[in-house]
Assembly symmetry: C2
Homo-oligomer: 216 residues x 2
DNA sequence: CACTATACGGAATGCCCATTCCGGTTGCAA
DNA sequence: TTGCAACCGGAATGGGCATTCCGTATAGTG
């Protein structure tokens, strides 16, 4: 991607304390990450390490030098996804209408999750996410604030809680993870709206006559 | 269960055409089925055949004589579940208020699915259910009728379709399949209500002030 | 009671992966 | 250009699990 030969070299060791990576190593690492993103996204968590290695154009051994375990590789990918979402959440906090901001965040999270089958599965199998990098990267806290705001303004059900979000996204992921391939596109967007409708404060008008957005 | 020694014996071959099962065989078959229901329910689809055999108190060989494949065993279990649901749906059609009847059916389906981890997983991974035994046992048709009624009376969103049901149940299953064990009870019932709220016709009053049924 | 078609148990087999190992390469500092 | 530590590739290893095989046991029949 970037041809600059000079990168993060600071003489001998990189920021943290590890000896800097050799150029080819760095390149391979990226390749692996990219391949993993691609393959996991398509095949889900049980995609094989060999497959990823092949896609990345390296040997399995190389994959393992960078990520000692399949799980580690997955963790790296997931952490990244969460961080990006956290950034997005941060922006959402600045919006005018908190309820709308929340909706947007959910829609976006849903979209991301839908496209990455591995992410869906990961979330499905780790409902204790709260303790994970989700919290680390602050996503949870940010979401909580956003929700509190939405509730204060009266847009959101009073009994909605942060845990509801990963749960709902997870549900969505499941729906599509299964459908993946068959049922092309399954317009999941419709389901997102149904969920949001479910979280909306009672009394507040629901969507205008549900968009005649009929499935299939 | 039933001690009557005389069962489906009609001399030499049973109804369909297969030679009748020997008494011990019939007994074992039941044991396997029961064990499978139990173990699959707890461990989900990747529970092992050996485990089931042990639980049933028989050898693996025996399991395989009755069900040539793990998949066959699962299919048998699932088909059974669907049939029971279909019966339930039939009853629902007789109720006064179609919307309420629908809600009850969903709540019941959800409960069943929640308790059977394998069922959740199965549904999650087979969104093309429509073609499966679901249809065979008529569940799909019955549900469709029920929904049509609910819509006619104005209780249900106009754009809701039959496919929404397995999808939503599946979503629910995913949520709890993951949570299974950790997050004891996760009161999924709350989620069912959120979903139903989402399917309710706009304008119709939502639940009375959301029951202060706070999670955890 | 004897006989045999059915059933049974569970060790053995075969396949699918993740992970490990090690002889051969290659950046890159001097 | 040289030397070697850091890297590579990919064959080999090991564990898990569905499925098969076969010698033994036993309903059910005459």
């Amino acid at each position: 991607m970037d041809t600059s030969t000079t990168a993060t070299i600071d003489g001998e060791r990189t920021a943290n304390g590890k000896p800097a990576l050799r150029a080819d190593a760095r390149r391979n690492r990226e390749a692996v990450l990219a391949a993993a993103r691609e393959r996991f996204g398509e095949c889900g968590l049980d995609c094989q390490m060999d497959d990823i290695a092949r896609t990345a154009g390296v040997g399995v051994g190389t994959v393992y030098r960078h990520f000692p375990t399949k799980e580690d590789l997955i963790a790296a990918l997931v952490a990244d996804r969460f961080e990006r979402l956290a950034e997005r959440a941060e922006q959402a906090l600045l919006e005018r209408d908190p309820w709308q901001a929340f909706c947007e965040l959910i829609r976006h999270s849903a979209a991301v999750t839908i496209r990455d089958r591995a992410l869906s599965e990961f979330i499905s199998w780790h409902p204790e996410l709260g303790q994970h990098e989700a919290v680390r990267s602050g996503l949870a806290d940010l979401t909580a604030q956003l929700m509190a705001n939405a509730q204060r303004v009266g847009g959101m059900r009073e009994d909605a809680v942060v845990e509801d979000v990963p749960t709902l996204i997870c549900a969505l992921g499941a729906v599509t993870a299964g459908a993946s391939g068959k049922m092309p596109e399954l317009n999941w967007e419709r389901y997102v709206e149904i969920m949001l409708d479910g979280l909306r404060a009672p009394g507040v008008n629901k969507l205008p006559p549900p968009r005649a957005h009929i499935p299939r």
